[in-house]
Symmetry: C2
Subunit: 144 residues, 2 copies
């Protein structure tokens, strides 16, 4: 059992949820995708078929457990990816033309600056910042 699945199982257990085949399969599919994917993509991705309702329900559970993160890049469908602490902290290149989303990582120095600045601002506003989100919107290589 890979470390990824162990962590997932632990986090589900923490909120008294089971790590079933369907949920494991979702984690596998997300891990294989390596980038945020939509539900239709998730359904077509795997080897075994999966009910759409189960995907929605289980992704909600996995999100509550902190295993999966839901992002809403402008587009028809919401997109899902593994939680940041299961991959590595990263950001998104969002193509405003085709809706594709790519990951990128920022230099550590930038991240440090960002985190500090952002925490200061939030604190001054009585806001308890849990995470930041830095996305680039533009046009990807395929669409130019």
């Amino acid at each position: 059992m890979s470390e990824l699945h162990q962590i997932a199982a632990t986090r589900l257990g923490a909120i008294r949820q089971r790590y079933t085949d369907g949920r494991r399969s979702l984690v596998d599919r997300l891990s294989a995708a390596g980038a945020p994917v939509t539900i239709p993509e998730l359904l077509s991705l795997g080897d075994e078929p999966m009910a759409q309702s189960s995907a929605y329900r289980n992704l909600a559970v996995l999100e509550q457990a902190g295993v999966v993160h839901r992002i809403t890049a402008s587009g028809d469908f919401a997109r899902f990816e593994l939680a940041e602490d299961l991959t590595e902290h990263h950001h998104h290149l969002i193509c405003s033309s085709c809706g594709a989303v790519e990951d990128f990582t920022a230099p550590a120095a930038l991240e440090r600056t960002l985190t500090k600045a952002v925490d200061d601002i939030a604190a001054a506003r009585g806001f308890d910042a849990r995470q930041h989100r830095l996305d680039l919107i533009g046009v990807c290589g395929n669409c130019t």
Copy 2:
């Protein structure tokens, strides 16, 4: 006629669209709101009633014209605000508990660092970056 409306009229004209009362009213409502608002909020905000379908259609036109920006903060409804160059470049504090969105501006030094770093990264990936988006997700003062 305020400068805001002049700019809106010009940009609509550039894509051969009219600046009608309904569209002017949307710009007014967005300007009055001062923060990203949902369509139901927009409809209830104004003095005169407005058809939901007109709101959706006109916001789409205004977005194409570059007058309005659509953000999809996780929540049921999409939110709309005036384009950044009609207000001032800013970011969002998004409450993951109640879905409220607040604006904030970052220190100029941080913005410079951010813009440069972000352009470099995008360029290296063959991505034509048009704008960046920096949001803080956390819990607002009302929800703690």
